[in-house]
């Protein structure tokens, strides 16, 4: 039995996190329910006029997705940090960047993907038509992984630090602005008939650059936190 290669270790990290997440199904649901509640509050605040809801719908759903992913980020590393698993990851004979990417992928699968699946339901609440819902899902599918990647840096930096949740939002929300602009913008552009091609390709560009930089920055932050 030869020692596991990088890919085996990587998939072990992903599978362990998914298994842990499944054992805590309640936590996953809370993020999802939070997303639905936040989005559903707006019509109560703004009024139920369909045209108005249609125009603010994409923005509201995207902001709700942003807040839900920030909420879920707190649990990304904190469990492993508390029980010492994170230390062992930092001491594994593999590059921490890759293992951190594994944790982020598992986190996205557990919390980001469900947002994409539930979004059309909320879209209907905001009276979005069929192809607007499709573009909404596409933009979220491209956007939520970027949110998890950028957010992971903040989650690693605020490990074991006072005021974690609020501090994490203050650190990360400004960095979410481009994703929010082009995410919500994609749906609006398609509704206005301009086509969402440009926005979606930019979201793809953000995702790729986040994939390159964020795991490395997360690994550096984790090494600082574990010191």
């Amino acid at each position: 039995m030869k020692p596991p290669r990088l890919l085996d270790a990587w998939s072990a990290v992903v599978r362990r996190d998914l298994l842990s997440a499944l054992r805590h199904r309640a936590d996953l649901l809370t993020t999802l329910i939070f997303f639905v509640i936040v989005a559903s509050l707006f019509p109560l605040g703004v009024g139920s006029d369909a045209a108005l809801l249609r125009s603010i719908g994409p923005g509201v759903i995207w902001v709700a997705a942003l807040l839900a992913s920030i909420l879920a980020l707190a649990r990304l590393f904190s469990g492993d940090y508390a029980d010492g698993t994170l230390e062992q990851l930092a001491l594994a004979p593999y590059s921490l960047t890759f293992l951190a990417l594994g944790k982020i992928v598992a986190h996205w699968l557990a919390t980001g993907l469900p947002l994409v699946i539930v979004a059309p339901l909320l879209g209907v609440q905001f009276d979005l038509n069929a192809d607007a819902l499709l573009v909404l899902m596409a933009s979220l599918l491209l956007g939520t992984p970027t949110l998890s990647l950028i957010g992971a840096v903040g989650a690693a930096l605020t490990l074991g630090v006072r005021g974690g949740g609020a501090l994490l939002s203050l650190l990360i929300l400004p960095l979410y602005v481009p994703v929010l602009i082009f995410g919500a913008g994609a749906v609006e552009a398609s509704a206005a008939g301009l086509g969402a091609g440009a926005h979606l390709s930019l979201l793809g560009a953000f995702l790729l650059s986040a994939l390159v930089f964020a795991p490395w920055a997360t690994a550096v932050s984790l090494r600082i936190a574990v010191e």
Partner: protein
């Protein structure tokens, strides 16, 4: 061969220790003694590369451990205060995943025998949150059975929360590791007699 030269450590604004130098070769046990807060844990975390020293160098076979990076970590195993056991997973799952992520070759039989020898045979399938602190500590120790290929073991107060039976088991494990040429760096407050071909001591208290 682990060589430490003029090691110094500062925590916050307090200087914990400085000018620490020693060498550890095969078959050697290094005991690190000192009162609470004297920097024992910090010293061990510097040795395993988690913490950067304020001064001095740690080198493994002649090369700085931070330069070696992954290569050094492939020869070393660390057990800290935290047992690195996920509460929601069973003992078996914990070992399977921690072995895979730590780059240890371990088949399911290896894992079950490790858990049996440490005295957890009846508890392999239940989530660790239902285990006692001592049992969880045994799960952490079971991982060391899988680290036989790793020459350098760094253990930070490994015997806490272990009962007499577990103490005997762990002592045998550590002694066999030393006999087979391994190196062991250990901090403990309990008086546990570990016979070892060469024993060195460092006292950080003075």
């Amino acid at each position: 061969m682990l060589v430490i030269s003029q090691l110094g450590c500062v925590r916050g604004e307090r200087r914990l220790f400085s000018e620490i130098s020693f060498e550890i070769g095969p078959h050697t046990l290094l005991e690190v003694r000192g009162p609470n807060g004297s920097g024992k844990t910090s010293l061990l975390r510097i040795l395993c590369g988690l913490l950067h020293p304020a001064a001095g160098r740690v080198s493994w076979n002649g090369r700085d451990i931070h330069e070696l990076g992954e290569e050094y970590r492939a020869h070393m195993a660390y057990l800290g205060h935290a047992s690195a056991v996920k509460d929601e997973l069973t003992a078996h799952e914990n070992l399977r995943y921690s072995a895979a992520t730590a780059g240890l070759a371990a088949s399911t039989t290896d894992i079950s025998t490790a858990l049996d020898t440490i005295g957890l045979s009846g508890f392999q399938g239940i989530p660790c949150k239902t285990l006692s602190q001592g049992q969880r500590r045994r799960v952490a120790f079971a991982r060391l059975y899988l680290c036989s290929a790793r020459p350098l073991w760094i253990l930070d107060e490994p015997f806490t929360a272990l009962d007499a039976a577990a103490l005997a088991l762990t002592r045998n494990l550590l002694e066999s590791h030393l006999r087979s040429g391994g190196m062991l760096v250990l901090t403990t407050h309990q008086e546990v007699e570990i016979t070892s071909p060469h024993t060195q001591r460092i006292d950080l208290g003075i």
